[in-house]
């Protein structure tokens, strides 16, 4: 049971004889939310809103300067005994109306309090502005005069015919986008390049200005007021904004939604036109500008405006679609309620929801928007920090304050002094301490199994490159590739006619030299010495040629499989001496060569007894155990196989300059390990795979800190 407000209040005397009334010029409208009737009061001067239940409005509507609050209360009690507010509720109600500046009262008000209140409000505003560093608003001017002058013309466009034209234009642009999809995609790569940023920003300001005017005109069209226009500094990017909140008091839900969507309607229209220009122009400034407009209008619309999880247009549209005003605050309150009710066991805690479906929406919205916000802001932080390190750090500090310190401090305060916890404080503190302890134990004490993966390639432990010993044409293939050979088996036969000719020539030369030597023995003894040395050299050449001729037959140097993938294409072709014809691989022993990146290597080297499993790509279901690690303590950049690099379809970044795709962008270390083939997995030399190293367990926190540091080090050289 919730706390029932007291019928009689001890403070009643303070307002009982007051003669107050609603301020003049307050707009009162009825709205239905999820089938319930509410009364909306709008103060047109401050654009403040106030939502009342019909019962409360019955009271408020009767307030007049010539009657006292006590009289009115009495009348209400008599006329609506079942719904009339109690004295305590009346005090609450009047104070809220007063805070919303909706009351008119005698001039004897406590002016000191007024000033104090004003100062506190200003202070809070400034505070929240700086804490919300990603979205700072600075109101600048009142666009009312301009809007009034132009609404006559622009307003005419807002009608079903306008909608039809809009649909046609946007539809056509969509078709164009579809047709030119590949070009659109290609150009998107350069959109965040430094030289494009000015154009992008220009496009952004242009599109967003029109977007904001869209809101303004739609709001005006349906009878709202637009008095504030200013600059919103969104992630350090000044963009315009207008305040169209007066649309919240529109009775028609459709109109409220339209005003919320107006920005996007205009934006899409502009993007559609830009798309047409882009598609029909050749490269140049106009072409690029149009592209940027299209980019801004589509990406920002999806990421920010349309997304209901951040508090932009989409949020308000969703809020109207669901018929739940103040969706965000109330979901936060609802989550808090859930926490209080079910974890702290506070039965007094009340949900702000009026129905079960609202409860469901609050829960879903609260949780998903929380997660999404952290995600988006985290990405933005990294993005900004990438470009502007100093600002990134400032932002990170501010965000840490507003998302971690402030909530923690608030929570501690809540634990320490919130009256709702009065009887449950011990439990609440105990649970919080328990949760914190569990978290600490989980993060900082309990070691979690740890592993990392590295890609690598299977290599036969024993293999030999078969190289032809002499140049020649391949004339015959003896051993077929893939067949098993023994050492000394002929693999292929080459022929080299030149070599044979040379042999013949050399032999002739020898005969001649021998003849001349005999002759010299008889006549010119002085010639014996040079001739015999010439004979020697000729002999040597002959024996060399013979060796080479023998080498024309390629023989296996070891037992194993003859691996020569494309050797058949070489039949009849000339091969220079020393060309690798193929491999002979010993199928008995393979090893896995893993490429371990710097970040992981120290842990691997520190962990002496690490285990590892290898999974070969394509056969990831079977794990092969690896043993006998050999960590090669020197960094290298040359990949053992191009298949590991990006260009070869692997996952290791390769240097851009390297056309071979075998030069890694980041140095790595090689770790070799023996692997045993099981029946299912055919180990083949050159197959790529992934190795998973199991390291010694370590608590998550220590690990997180290291990762964070590595990230900072890598990105910002800190």
């Amino acid at each position: 049971m919730a706390e029932t407000p007291q019928t009689f209040s001890e403070s009643w005397y303070r307002i009982a004889n007051q003669q107050i009334a609603l301020r003049q010029g307050i707009n009162v409208r009825r709205q239905n939310f999820r089938g319930e009737r509410w009364i909306i009061l709008e103060n047109p001067f401050s654009n403040q809103f106030f939502r009342l239940t019909p019962a409360a409005y019955e009271f408020v509507a009767r307030l007049r300067r010539d009657r006292t609050v006590a009289e009115i209360w009495k009348e209400c009690m008599e006329r609506f005994p079942d719904i009339a507010p109690g004295q305590e509720q009346v005090i609450q109600l009047l104070s809220q109306l007063y805070y919303a500046n909706l009351l008119q009262y005698s001039d004897a008000a406590d002016s000191a309090q007024l000033f104090e209140r004003y100062q506190r409000m200003k202070q809070r505003e400034t505070q929240s502005r700086w804490l919300n560093i990603m979205f700072m608003r600075f109101p600048l001017l009142d666009p009312d005069i301009f809007l009034n002058k132009t609404i006559g013309f622009v307003g005419k466009l807002i009608n079903p015919i306008g909608a039809l034209i809009w649909a046609m234009v946007v539809g056509w642009a969509l078709k164009l986008a579809f047709d030119n999809w590949s070009m659109l995609k290609a150009q998107s790569e350069g959109v965040l390049a430094p030289q494009n940023l000015p154009l992008l920003y220009l496009g952004l300001v242009f599109v967003k200005s029109l977007h904001e005017f869209g809101h303004a005109y739609f709001c005006k069209k349906y009878g709202g007021e637009v008095h504030v226009m200013g600059v919103l500094i969104m992630i350090f990017t000044p963009t315009p904004y207008v305040d169209a909140t007066s649309s919240w008091s529109f009775r028609s839900r459709k109109q409220r939604i339209l005003v919320g969507a107006a920005g996007m309607i205009v934006e899409l229209f502009v993007a559609a036109i830009a798309m047409m220009v882009w598609a029909n122009s050749s490269r140049g400034v106009v072409h690029n500008l149009c592209y940027n407009i299209v980019f801004v209008a589509s990406v920002s619309t999806v990421l920010f405006n349309l997304n209901p999880l951040l508090r932009f247009d989409g949020y308000y549209i969703l809020s109207d679609l669901l018929d739940i005003p103040n969706l965000s605050q109330r979901s936060t309150r609802h989550l808090r309620h859930l926490f209080e009710r079910y974890i702290f066991g506070i039965r007094k805690s009340e949900s702000p929801s009026n129905s079960n479906s609202e409860k469901a929406w609050f829960t879903v919205f609260g949780i998903s928007s929380g997660i999404y916000r952290v995600f988006v802001f985290g990405r933005i932080l990294l993005f900004v920090a990438d470009r502007l390190l100093l600002i990134g750090i400032i932002m990170a500090v501010v965000c840490a304050i507003s998302w971690i310190c402030v909530p923690v401090v608030k929570y501690v305060k809540y634990l320490a002094s919130d009256p709702i916890l009065d009887r449950h404080r011990v439990r609440a503190v105990a649970i919080t301490a328990g949760l914190a302890a569990v978290l600490i134990v989980l993060l900082d004490v309990i070691p979690f199994p740890r592993h990392f993966r590295a890609s690598g390639v299977v290599e036969a432990k024993v293999y030999s490159h078969e190289v032809n010993g002499a140049a020649g044409f391949m004339s015959r293939l003896v051993a077929l590739p893939g067949s098993q050979v023994k050492a000394g088996d002929t693999l292929a036969v080459f022929s080299n006619p030149e070599l044979e000719l040379e042999l013949a020539a050399s032999k002739a030369n020898r005969t001649e030299t021998q003849a001349r030597l005999l002759q010299a023995m008889g006549h010119e003894t002085a010639n014996i010495k040079p001739l015999s040395s010439k004979l020697d050299s000729v002999e040597k050449r002959i024996s060399r040629i013979n060796v080479e001729l023998a080498s024309l037959t390629l023989r296996a140097r070891q037992n194993g499989f003859w691996v020569a993938p494309s050797i058949e294409e070489g039949l009849g072709r000339w091969f220079a001496k020393g060309t690798s014809m193929g491999l002979i691989v010993d199928p008995g022993s393979f090893e896995f060569v893993a490429t371990v990146l710097q970040d992981d290597v120290d842990q691997l080297f520190a962990n002496t007894n690490s285990l590892a499993q290898v999974r070969i790509i394509g056969q990831a279901d079977t794990a092969l155990s690896a043993s006998n690690f050999r960590k090669i303590p020197a960094e290298t950049r040359k990949l053992p196989s191009p298949a590991l690099g990006w260009t070869g379809g692997g996952d290791i970044p390769v240097a851009k300059q390297d056309s071979q795709g075998q030069h890694a962008a980041e140095p790595f270390f090689q770790v070799r390990a023996d692997i045993q083939s099981t029946g299912d997995v055919a180990l083949l030399h050159g197959r790529t795979g992934k190795v998973r190293f199991d390291l010694e367990p370590e608590p998550l926190f220590t690990r997180g800190i290291r990762k964070m540091r590595q990230l900072l080090q890598k990105r910002y050289q800190i």
Binding site: T4, E10, D82, I91, L94, Y98, D110, P419, D422
Partner: protein, 663 residues
């Protein structure tokens, strides 16, 4: 006598109470407070008192004529104020001391001089019972009175107001300070006269009520500047003529802990009965319905927080039951509220404890003094609910016209100081709320009271039995005995036990103040047994009868521990005053209300088990249990007090459209 503009201004002006510090500010402020309470403060006060003491000879040799001339000089100095006055404080005090000696025959001890200095400098002086606080206040008030700014000396009841004023009057007269007093029975004209004197003795209740009535008369003209301009421009329209007070400047609060802390949040309400037929009817019906509800099934009650909660079954029952009624009973919130009040009346308001029946009326009993307060009533509806429960004719509900808590009121004085026997437990609160640093003035003679160890029992019946035996045993030695109880019911219970044993005693129960003080004053005589609720007769010393010191002095028995250790100490402090011998002992049981209300039920069970099994260290365990219960009680009470203050500030802000608050 026409007032000077500055006097006219001060009539309406009061200090703007600073908002309470929150969060980190409060921490910092707490350190500032600790600095103000540092040991050196007392050393300086004592050194100065010694210096004043050393001048004694010079003043005692003077003739009355010379002394009074000097005093006139001091008076002029103090009226002018400034540096001169500050420098001559020591001399002036020495002179006033001499006057005290000559006119009332009391020569203030150096400790009393130190106390007077502390009061003058805005401290809260902790002085044990019997150390002559009344005289200390008098000394400080002379200094304040000389300035002609209004000085109020606040005590706890009318009797003390009259007695103190009468007692110290000769000193004031000789020093050229006019003095008066205000008690509850005075008419406005009289009050105006009495407040017109330099120094006025009064109770907190009268002071606050007069202040509120003055404010009501001023209406919207609470801004002193506007008020002054208006009075000067059109004297015939001045509203200040009807005011009884001269404004708020200096206050010296006696028994400061009870006035500034224990009773501080009870607001003083100026109200007028207003006919409300509907509420009367509703109260009768609510009482009928409640008698049909069953505890545990239809509603649950929580003794610790004094709250009841209807269960779902109860709400359904209520709904069915109310179908035939109209008006207030038609709204769900309305009827639950009405029923809740009736349940409160039934569950937590007990005849003889919270109220008594006198002449067919419900009279609220002050839980602290055990005294009926005929003019008090509970808030709208609750009072009627209790009346309906008792089957009385219902009175018209009182409608509030103005309301202010004592806490807020005392924050409005420019110079606040106070005295009490027990302050240090609450020194943090005194600082945070009133900016009063506590300084502990040592006793003139060392205290030789024996504190006997607490007697602990599992149940109440045994406890009272042993108390009665103890009383009988001690009574045979002839020692005077004071039995302090928590409320009237306990007093009567003890009385009937003593009756059974044929012991004669004095029972202090809600009789007239004068008589009460007389009984208490005689409680130190031979063979006296006095039973009193713990606050009864405060401010009156128990002087030992002749020959009593030799046989051990007064023995004090506490029948229970109180929510606050301060109250315990006050009770014990009634014996062993001014270096007299004495003894004190507390009797507690695990069934005491303190434990039932403020100790976690699991802890209570554990303690009980230890007690029954006489586990090792069970005594220490029970002691800790009582300590925890007292701490819990203090914390809850402190929270309630700050919550009241916060709520008031919120209302001031939220309802500031209804004009400036009364203060």
């Amino acid at each position: 006598m026409t007032a000077t503009p500055s006097q006219e201004y001060r009539r309406v002006h009061h200090e703007t109470a600073t908002t309470l510090h929150k969060g980190l500010d409060a921490r910092v402020n707490s350190f500032v407070g600790r600095y103000h309470r540092r040991a050196k403060v007392l050393q300086e006060l004592q050194a100065e008192a010694e210096r004043i003491d050393s001048q004694a000879k010079r003043w005692s040799e003077m003739s009355d004529q010379q002394l009074s001339e000097h005093l006139r000089e001091f008076r002029m100095q103090f009226r002018r104020g400034g540096k001169e006055a500050k420098q001559s404080i020591g001399e002036a005090l020495a002179a006033i001391r001499e006057v005290s000696d000559r006119k009332v025959g009391l020569r203030p001890f150096p400790t009393q001089l130190a106390g007077a200095l502390a009061l003058h400098r805005g401290f809260l002086a902790e002085m044990a019972t019997g150390e002559g606080k009344t005289l200390v206040a008098g000394l400080a008030a002379v200094l304040a009175g000389w300035t002609r700014r209004p000085c109020h000396i606040i005590t706890v009841n009318d009797y003390l107001v009259r007695r103190d004023e009468e007692w110290i009057k000769p000193i004031y007269q000789f020093c050229g300070v006019s003095v008066g007093y205000v008690t509850g029975d005075m008419k406005p004209a009289e009050r105006r006269k009495e407040y017109g004197f330099d120094v006025t003795y009064t109770t907190s209740k009268e002071a606050l009520a007069d202040f509120l009535r003055d404010r009501l008369q001023m209406g919207a003209m609470v801004n002193p500047t506007r008020q002054l301009l208006r009075t000067m421009l059109s004297p015939q329209n001045s509203v200040t003529d009807g005011l009884v007070m001269r404004g708020l400047d200096t206050a010296i609060v006696d028994e400061a802990d009870s006035i500034l802390i224990d009773e501080a949040v009870t607001p003083l309400i100026i109200s007028a009965p207003r006919q409300n037929e509907e509420l009367r009817e509703a109260s009768v019906i609510a009482n009928e319905i409640v008698s049909e509800l069953e505890p545990g099934i239809d509603y649950e009650s929580d003794t610790r927080y004094r709250e009841t909660r209807l269960t779902t079954a109860g709400i359904e029952k209520l709904q069915k039951r109310c179908e035939s009624y109209s008006g207030l009973w038609r709204g769900q919130d309305r009827r639950i509220d009405l029923i809740r009040q009736a349940l409160m009346a039934r569950e937590f308001f007990v005849n003889g404890k919270q109220y008594v029946l006198q002449n067919g009326r419900v009279v609220i009993v002050d839980e602290f003094t055990g005294r009926p307060m005929p003019q008090r009533s509970w808030r709208q509806g609750l009072h009627q609910a209790v009346e309906a429960k008792e089957g009385l004719t219902l009175t018209d509900p009182a409608e509030t016209i103005a309301r202010l808590s004592f806490q807020r009121y005392f924050r409005l004085y420019r110079r606040l100081s106070g005295m009490t026997g027990t302050a240090r437990e609450a020194s943090e609160e005194f600082w945070q709320i009133y900016k009063l640093p506590v300084v502990r003035i040592p006793t003139n003679k060392p205290c030789i009271r024996q504190q006997w160890p607490d007697q602990i029992f599992a149940d109440e019946a045994t406890k009272f039995e042993v108390i009665a035996q103890d009383v009988e045993r001690l009574h045979q030695t002839g020692r005077p005995i004071l039995i302090g109880t928590r409320n009237v019911t306990t007093s009567e219970r003890v009385a009937s036990l003593l009756d059974q044993r044929g012991l004669s005693y004095h029972l202090l129960n809600a009789t007239r103040l004068q008589e009460e003080a007389n009984i208490i004053a005689r409680a130190g005589e031979k063979n006296q047994i006095t039973i009193a609720t713990n606050m009864a007769g405060r401010g009156t010393d128990i002087k030992l009868g002749t020959g009593m010191a030799e046989i051990g002095g007064l023995h004090v028995i506490a029948t229970e521990r109180h929510e606050s250790g301060r109250v315990d100490r006050q009770l014990f402090g009634r014996s062993g005053r001014q270096g007299d011998p004495g003894s004190a002992q507390a009797f507690v049981s695990l069934e005491d209300e303190l434990l039932r209300r403020y100790l976690n039920s699991i802890l209570l069970k554990q303690t009980a088990a230890m007690l029954r099994g006489h586990f090792p260290a069970w005594q220490a365990a029970t002691k800790t249990a009582f300590g925890i219960a007292q701490r819990n009680a203090q914390q809850i009470a402190y929270k309630q007090r700050t919550a009241v203050l916060k709520m008031d500030s919120w209302l001031d802000e939220a309802l500031s459209f209804a004009g400036a608050p009364i203060a």
